[in-house]
């Protein structure tokens, strides 16, 4: 077809000299493209990436613009639903505050308020600079000189850290599920959050407000349990969302959970109300019966009442009901009580014992191990040369907690002490990924520590506070722009894998952490990033290979169109368990060998109310927010823009505080100012502050400066304090504080 005059002019304008002679100015920014309208709407299957539930989603996309997200029918986690956080992820994808291009700091002065003097750099310059700086530190100061504040995933990233021998990788799990993971490993096997509530007849909830946390998988299951006639008993200092649907609610004293659990175990043992078949055949009860019975004998309901304010008669009755109404379960989940207090290790162990005595480990109605499709990892597909040894000092002292060290999780709560006091100057380079300062207890200490490092890289989706201290900022993709195979874990009696695929293309120059791993790997540890043929590992080829080897499809592209694979199979309960003895271990010999209590024993929480700090501090994560990462999301911001200090009206009245009065909340760690909100729904000796607010960075247009950080009230720790408290699982004590409240000004 001959070119029209308009076509001819257009082409010359784009490709030719244009208006200015030389290269067309228009053509430098535009290129010829197929003409005509192209509006095309597609629906793509993917998996949410905001929390580990990874609910299946259907994304409606028109011309590479995401229009709508909804649940995926048949998905075992979301069961066709998603929560407000998942549904509003579009607002994060299209947040104008998103990090867009690699940037370099030109102002050497580091301060949370100083202008960093950013200039844009290419990815190539960023990669070269990072490799040179990190490579230089490694050769000059050894492996201990680098700190990676980052999860141990995805696996390409993990491979990169292993390949350069990172000694100091720190993550948030000491303020999350680490304690439970450690305890579960030695009492029943690999860690799981899979609960079969739908078939439970009795559910004892200590602290976990699973409805308010809004994880779809657990909400659906809890409602199914209620519909199936389960009795739910909630112990929580506040009348939580879950407490509202429970049959009984006990406003327990913070830290008293352990006492109640120990007393319930005492009743179960004294009255032989445990599952004799399970306990006899699949646990080490018989071997240690004498020690077990003796250990719990002293924990009477009357004693527990004094520590918990739960009436002894109720504890006794609940214990009997728990023993008799089977199947029964006492779930434990992440930041409920599992990480909150210095006695969290004992709580996790005591809850494990409850579940073992109930005989519901990997049984209907209990806590079970997910049935999964085996997906080979990168090291299976491309076996690496042996990794270098991780020699060097551990900055957070985790090596002194062998169980935490072996779990390879943590430690936020001791990091500042390590960097500022124990090993000042040891950390030269920091890689900081997807974490907020507000996730640390005493975040000001961490900020202080970070100022002291020579070179810091921050990679994130949004301009988090830590970016203010960075030398290089790298823009990250989010889950809607990434690819993965997601195996179901929280509701997986039959294996199921859901695709995660880019439903929109990565905006600006955002890149994934997997891509970064390969690019830095090529520069710093090339031998670990080549295939047998000598080619560089490609994340997309790797994904193809994993898809094929897992039997999901012939290629990842094919699996993208399939979306989800479920392999229905009968649920066959386990008869052996992945512990040293092959049995569920009530008495943990490995704990005894290390000098720790082999059976759960009473320990109080760390910070108790005093004349100076008369209130227990409680914190919570609101259901509409994902920890401290969604406060800038427009939709979620509208639902909850800031936090307040929530008090019982009687306590507030004694202090002359009313609804909306600005109040200073003080602890031995620091202070914050927030308006008071009055509520009858918590104990008068507690104050409650929502987590996730108080972002320092004004670059978060909506969230910056809104509310205050609960973490400023939480004392961080030294490793010695943890050891002295017998907190051998290394709980980060993320709610263990006592506070005073007074009118501001």
């Amino acid at each position: 077809m001959p070119l029209s005059r308009r076509d001819w002019i257009r082409l010359s304008s784009v490709t030719g000299a244009g208006l200015f002679g030389g290269q067309s100015l228009f053509g430098q920014f535009f290129q010829p493209a197929a003409a005509g309208p192209s509006a095309q709407t597609r629906t793509l299957v993917t998996a949410c990436g905001l929390c580990d539930s990874a609910c299946g989603m259907q994304a409606t996309v028109t011309d590479n613009v995401l229009k709508f997200l909804q649940g995926l029918p048949g998905d075992q986690h979301g069961n066709g639903g998603i929560c407000a956080k998942g549904a509003s992820a579009i607002s994060t994808a299209y947040d104008p505050d998103r990090l867009k291009y690699p940037m370099k700091r030109t102002n050497p002065h580091k301060d949370l308020t100083a202008d960093p003097g950013w200039v844009r750099i290419t990815w190539d310059e960023a990669l070269t600079t990072i490799s040179q700086r990190f490579g230089g530190y490694l050769s000059q100061f050894g492996k201990e000189s680098l700190l990676f504040v980052s999860r141990n995933s995805p696996e390409l990233w993990s491979r990169f850290m292993n390949a350069i021998g990172v000694v100091n990788r720190v993550d948030h799990n000491d303020v999350c599920y680490m304690v439970d993971r450690i305890v579960q490993r030695y009492t029943m096997g690999p860690h799981t959050f899979a609960y079969d509530f739908a078939n439970s007849k009795y559910i004892l909830l200590f602290g976990w407000d699973l409805l308010a946390r809004n994880k779809v998988v657990f909400c659906h299951q809890m409602m199914a349990a209620k519909e199936g006639g389960a009795k739910v008993v909630s112990f929580n200092p506040m009348y939580s969302a879950t407490a509202r649907v429970a049959d009984e609610w006990y406003p327990i004293r913070p830290g008293g959970d352990l006492a109640v659990i120990l007393a319930i175990i005492q009743v179960l043992l004294n009255e032989n109300l445990f599952d004799r078949d399970f306990v006899g055949n699949y646990t080490n009860f018989a071997e240690y019966e004498g020690q077990i019975r003796e250990n719990f004998q002293k924990y009477t309901p009357e004693w527990a009442e004094k520590e918990s304010d739960v009436p002894a008669a109720d504890i006794r009755r609940i214990a009997r009901e728990f023993g008799e109404r089977r199947p029964a379960v006492a779930p434990l989940h992440k930041k409920t009580i599992g990480a909150n207090h210095a006695n969290a290790t004992q709580i996790a162990h005591a809850i494990a014992v409850l579940n073992i005595l109930a005989g519901t480990i990997d049984r209907p109605g209990g806590r079970y191990f997910p049935r999964t499709i085996s997906i080979p990892g990168v090291d299976a597909i491309y076996p690496p040369p042996s990794y270098p040894s991780k020699t060097g000092r551990r900055v957070d002292g985790r090596n002194l907690l062998p169980l935490a060290h072996e779990a390879n999780n943590g430690m936020f709560s001791t990091l500042a002490d390590g960097m500022l006091n124990k090993f000042p100057g040891m950390i030269r380079g920091v890689f900081w990924q997807n974490y907020s300062l507000g996730g640390f207890p005493s975040p000001r200490h961490i900020a202080e520590a970070l100022k002291s490092v020579e070179f810091m890289v921050v990679m994130d989706i949004l301009p988090v506070d830590a970016a203010l201290l960075a030398d290089i900022v790298l823009p990250s993709t989010m889950f809607l722009e990434g690819s993965d195979l997601i195996s179901r874990t929280n509701n997986a009696k039959s294996p199921q894998v859901v695709v995660r695929q880019p439903v929109i293309s990565a905006p600006f120059e955002t890149r994934s952490i997997g891509w970064l791993a390969v690019e830095l790997g090529k520069r710093l540890a090339p031998d670990y990033f080549r295939t047998d043929s000598g080619a560089w590992i490609s994340p997309s080829v790797l994904l193809d290979e994993k898809t094929k080897r897992a039997g999901l499809a012939n290629s990842f592209a094919e699996f993208r169109s399939i979306g989800m694979v479920t392999k229905e199979q009968p649920f066959v309960p386990r008869t052996t368990f992945a512990t040293a003895s092959g049995k569920c271990q009530i008495y943990v010999p490995e704990f005894a060998q290390r000098g720790y209590a082999p059976l759960p024993e009473w320990k109080p929480k760390r910070d108790l109310p005093s004349a100076e700090y008369p209130f227990f501090l409680l914190t919570y994560i609101p259901g509409v927010h994902r920890r401290n990462s969604t406060q800038n999301n427009k939709v979620l911001h509208e639902m909850m823009p800031e936090n307040s200090v929530i008090m019982h009206p009687s306590a507030a009245a004694r202090l002359g505080l009313g609804e909306g009065t600005p109040a200073v909340v003080r602890s031995r760690a620091g202070q914050i100012t927030l308006p008071v909100h009055l509520s009858q729904t918590l104990r008068p000796d507690c104050v409650l502050v929502a987590h996730g607010f108080g972002h320092v960075s004004r670059a978060l247009t909506l969230a910056g400066g809104k509310g205050a950080r609960d973490a400023d009230l939480i004392p961080d720790q030294t490793i010695e304090e943890i050891l002295a408290a017998g907190n051998f699982g290394g709980s980060g004590c993320i709610m263990d504080a006592a506070v005073a409240v007074e009118a501001a000004g």
Binding site: I9, R10, Q31, A33, Y94, P96, V473
Partner: protein, 182 residues
């Protein structure tokens, strides 16, 4: 009065300036714009572009538009609308405009409603002798926010090149809006 083609060149230069304030890109166009009605402005821009530390200009450009710790004035039409966002209706509309004229931005990750792309495309439409109706429609769809935005950039900018570029782009656009108003 400026000729159609001179106007087109000014729009394209302004668009390029907001996308890449780089002497390598802008020197030749600014040189040639010295012959136009706003020749003195072009000389001034050229002088500011070439004097001082080029890093200062890059720093200020990032501070205003792209800072990872808080851009002062994000330069996307969707980000200036209520509610502010990226890839909003303005992006989709701009994409449709570009597609109708058989062109697409070279940087696929950049939303189509970036100020620089819109100004550049406005120049392209003039160059292509788009009809008065088409020009008026594009201006209504995509340029009405520009004068006020440029005024803010001119007030905020701490580098004379960017301040002056913004004030010229604002004037140029305001004039066109007036001329093409239905």
């Amino acid at each position: 009065m400026m000729t159609r083609l001179d106007r087109a060149r000014w729009f394209q230069m302004a668009g390029a300036g907001f996308l890449s304030p780089d002497a390598n890109v802008l020197k030749a166009p600014l040189d040639s714009l010295r012959e136009t009605e706003w020749g003195e402005e072009a000389s001034r821009l050229l002088q500011w572009l070439e004097s001082g530390d080029p890093l200062d200009l890059q720093r200020e450009f990032v501070r205003l538009f792209l800072s990872p710790t808080g851009a002062v004035l994000p330069p996307w039409q969707s980000a200036r609308e209520d509610p502010p966002r990226l890839m909003g209706p303005a992006h989709e509309s701009a994409t449709r405009w570009f597609a109708r004229w058989g062109v697409a931005p070279r940087t696929p990750g950049e939303p189509a409603d970036h100020l620089g792309l819109l100004l550049n495309f406005a120049g392209f439409l003039l160059e292509q002798e788009a009809s008065a109706e088409e020009l008026a429609a594009f201006h209504q769809d995509h340029l009405t926010w520009v004068p006020a935005f440029c005024e803010r950039v001119a007030a905020e900018a701490r580098h004379p090149f960017l301040a002056h570029l913004a004030s010229l782009a604002g004037r140029l656009t305001a004039q066109r809006l007036e001329e093409t108003a239905p």
